[in-house]
């Protein structure tokens, strides 16, 4: 039963602080920056856990693409003028926070009472990119092709959805 490293705690703290800031800050651009920090913390957390390819993919896809996409949409929708308070005045935020806290309590209870957590098993060897590519091309060819098709369809669909109004006015 090995103890956890200090780097794990630091990276987890960065990730959680970034996520909390993204959900609590007032300005939308600040939220996008905070969520980029949270995604980067998660990517380094994957690297810390030995999943090199997944960590780099997380950094590329989330920090490089999705965070920038969120910033673009915030600027295109003029999100800077968010005068409304982040939490509405109704009873909804209290309910939402209560539901989230209850779900976290249930999840933490399940984590601490699960048998898999307490059984010490040898660590998996960190998968190299080479063998990952072999597995991806040998055993998971069909899912790979399907996800390529789905990404193409999502790209075309997103472009069409975002462009439709402009074509209708012309």
């Amino acid at each position: 039963m090995s103890l956890m490293s200090a780097t794990f705690f630091i990276l987890a703290a960065i990730t959680l602080v970034g996520a909390c800031a993204a959900m609590m800050l007032r300005g939308l651009v600040h939220c996008a920056l905070a969520v980029a920090i949270a995604f980067a913390g998660l990517g380094t957390l994957y690297l810390n856990l030995g999943a090199q390819f997944l960590g780099l993919a997380q950094l590329l896809v989330y920090v490089g693409a999705i965070a920038v996409l969120i910033v673009f949409v915030i600027l295109l929708t003029r999100g800077g003028d968010s005068d409304s308070p982040p939490l509405s005045r109704a009873a909804l935020p209290i309910t939402g926070l209560l539901v989230a806290a209850c779900i976290f309590a249930v999840l933490a209870w399940a984590v601490f009472h699960s048998f898999a957590v307490h059984s010490a098993v040898p660590l998996a060897a960190p998968a190299t990119v080479r063998e990952l590519g072999t597995v991806l091309m040998a055993d998971y060819v069909l899912p790979l092709e399907v996800i390529g098709l789905m990404l193409t369809a999502a790209l075309i669909g997103a472009a069409i959805i975002a462009m439709r109004e402009k074509q209708a006015t012309q």
């Binding site: 956890m4 939308l28 999943a51 996409l69 969120i70 999840l107």
Partner: protein, 103 residues
Amino acid sequence: MTPLAGCLLVSSMLFAVGLAGALTRRNTILVLVGIELMLNAANLNFVAFWRFGPHNGASTGMIFGIFSIGVAAAEAAVGLALILAVYRHTKTTDLSQLTGRPQ
């Protein structure tokens, strides 16, 4: 605390933060960000169980994580495009003004 328990705890905290944001924020973009955070929490669980789980040797957890990142990218692109389309139609991204009720 074993490393697996630490990972799972961090993941459940991330899920709870994302859920709280998705339930309480009123901006559609931030609701989508909360959903992304929840998806990332599930991804962290995949990696943690791949690394510390009892059935190691196979890289199934990592493969599933890669596919999950791909699906999340498609979801974010389509979701943000939908937010843009709705904004062009209604000139707002506030969820409380998008419910269809008379203001």
